[in-house]
Symmetry: C2
Subunit: 416 residues, 2 copies
């Protein structure tokens, strides 16, 4: 993509009403636009990052047998009344609206009810289980305060996986499989080292649920990290009984602020019993299906990565989620340099490298500042100097380390 054609521009200042660092940087770099508190539109660079995050999530969900689908946002009152989750007294963040011709509908804040209902048409016998289904769908939550940028949206994109098992044991296997997939996802997204599987409160059907918490000073959660075991305990459940359960001593734990980037729940038969999702076991008896649900906010991930991997100059995207592989910058004194950079752009593109090419008429300093702000992992500079040296200057955004790479080695270097 030629940057002169890209419709977004960077800006020096974020809007005054934007207090969250993630949103400030993403707005300044032209990745997102604020529509209202907690509601953002994704501009081309931002959508590319979101789609690359989704691709990683999709890969790992498919690898454990997840089947992708997509449920509606509009939700039927009658369905949610059956599980007692329609009333605003029970669920306090519904958006609700009226159908013309009568009737109230809600905007999905999660999708256990509709999927359990759908599965009634497709699961009948023990041979139909286990099954894993997931979607990547916008959720709507009527948050009273929404001041964390895209970390906590009123409208946000979520990958939600649901598992359907015959027994508790089968469920536990699926649950641990999903937890392992989650760890892989966070590693690929570049935040694996600072993300911990965290014990949190369970509910009626299991003693604990698990969150995946990413260390960050702006996190809304407080967790106690056990570095040796690579796990943590949410402050909300931290007590002597939990420490005993997990076999850890309080002295081994370190208190940290963290952002929740994923959560996994055992649902037991809460939804299958309420909605009548049963299977016939080998003896012909109707048995309620054992369920689990597993969420990752993929638009929130854009904000988390922006928040924890940036520096004072701007964003720093990990390789797997960067909007482009490389940012090609031409510093042009004359037409020959520009022609050489054009040729380089063609060469890289033909070799399957996604390049943002800063071909604008602008000063070198402005181009470098924009490149730092946008945060593409590798910057490639073509100038009179690099042409004379027979190559291009390649700089890593994260480390700022720089080297002159001969053209004959450039493609291989970039594909590493």
């Amino acid at each position: 993509m030629r940057q002169s054609q890209l419709f977004t521009k960077t800006r020096k200042e974020a809007p005054k009403d934007e207090v969250a660092k993630n949103a400030q940087l993403l707005i300044r770099a032209g990745f997102i636009h604020k529509e209202m508190a907690g509601v953002y539109s994704l501009l081309p660079l931002g959508l590319r990052v979101l789609e690359r995050i989704n691709r990683v999530i999709r890969d790992e969900m498919n690898a454990i047998g997840g089947q992708e689908m997509l449920m509606s946002a509009l939700q039927s009152k009658e369905l949610w009344e059956q599980t007692d989750r329609w009333s605003d007294g029970v669920v306090d963040n519904w958006f609700k609206t009226q159908l013309k011709g009568g009737g109230e509908v809600g905007l999905g804040f999660t999708h256990e009810e509709p999927l359990t209902n759908i599965m009634r048409s497709h699961i009948h016998s023990y041979a139909d289980l286990p099954k894993l289904a997931y979607q990547i769908q916008w959720k709507f939550r009527n948050e009273e305060r929404a001041k964390s940028g895209i970390l906590r949206g009123r409208e946000f994109l979520m990958k939600d996986l649901y598992t359907f098992a015959r027994t508790e044991d089968e469920h536990t296997e699926l649950y641990e499989g999903a937890a392992t997939a989650y760890a892989k996802i966070f590693t690929r997204l570049g935040i694996g080292e600072r993300t911990y599987r965290t014990f949190a409160s369970g509910g009626v059907f299991s003693k604990y649920s698990h969150e995946f918490q990413c260390l960050s000073n702006v996190g809304e959660d407080t967790i106690y990290v056990h570095e040796g075991k690579r796990m943590a305990i949410n402050k909300e459940v931290m007590n002597a009984e939990v420490l005993a359960d997990l076999g850890v001593a309080e002295s081994e734990l370190k208190e940290q602020k963290a952002i929740e980037v994923g959560n996994i729940f055992s649902l037991g038969t809460r939804f299958s019993e309420a909605l009548g999702l049963t299977y016939k076991d080998s003896a012909g008896k109707d048995v309620p299906v054992v369920m689990g649900s597993y969420g990752i906010g993929s638009s929130r991930m854009v904000g988390v990565i922006a928040e924890v991997l940036s520096d004072e100059k701007g964003l720093i995207w990990p390789k797997e989620v960067a909007p482009y592989n490389a940012h090609l910058i031409v510093i042009h004194g004359n037409e020959d340099v520009r022609a050489e950079a054009d040729r380089m752009y063609e060469l890289l593109t033909e070799n399957g490298i996604d390049v943002l090419y800063d071909d604008r008429d602008a000063r070198a300093g402005e181009k470098f500042a924009d490149a730092d702000l946008i945060g593409i992992p590798l910057r490639i500079v073509v100038s009179e100097k690099t042409i004379q040296a027979g190559g291009a200057e390649v700089t890593e955004r994260a480390s700022a380390s720089s080297s002159l790479v001969p053209e004959s080695e450039l493609i291989e270097y970039l594909k590493r």
Copy 2:
């Protein structure tokens, strides 16, 4: 994908309350699930078709310089009041809801307002134009009646492109470019021959807009087709003046029912003036941007294709949108046949062919009926007979023509 693992099942009967053929077939084949009138969830096969339709649309939008982005569903009252489109008296199909903490928001039924507003941050001078931006985003329309299956949804996926030009002439070029891209899209989606660019009412800023109308008996529109010129006139604007404008005689036209599959509008400066989107021309004067908008309902397209390309046995997907390239069916008398089919499944998959593999323990007749209902373009049968003949029987779903293809030629045959 092994069909024994696919979580959906086909069914003999559609739900009694579903009157539209497209939805009846799509539900019976396990592509969609009805949540309520005009609201459907997409099951794995349906989502695959939708994503393949989106890929075609995306290709052609990118080819004309469109930049993909994604705007929010939640819409600000204050913004839409500026163009006088907030009031229910002006726009009669808003879904509106309340923010906690006060304030009303709408669910986007189209996105001219937010995009024009976004562009105010990015378009300043004549050098920033022209620009094309599009999204593929769910729209919400509070339809009083919704009885056409997924042809007319209360919640539906739309690709909407918007163009921003300096002058009327530049706009006309972009408009015609978009129209040409639309024709390519409908051809690739398999409905090109029965789809006509149709003159429709324009509005304040242009005498005509254009619809793309696909012939179908269940269409809600009546159009007059001029076969020689491959164009049509919507009944709503049909009169002597229009005939004179277009240089056609009424006797050359044929009345037909049709489904609108796309529309393109010249917006002039209606939105740019109301919202203050201007650029500085070469003389430094502020000039309002000339806009156009261009829609294709991609979830509607799933329904249109299901409606017009099906037969009494079921769905018939064109190659570019089929959920899988091939449907491999094993008719197994013994373990050897199944082993041979398993090997064939691996072979096809390794060669990059997307295969749905009916490995279920079921009668041949049931498998054939399901394959016809699901409508994948090519059916490949492996049985004792085909193994003895050294190949597989390949049948085209559309023509029902069948041939025994030697294994050595199979990959090439399928990739044609």
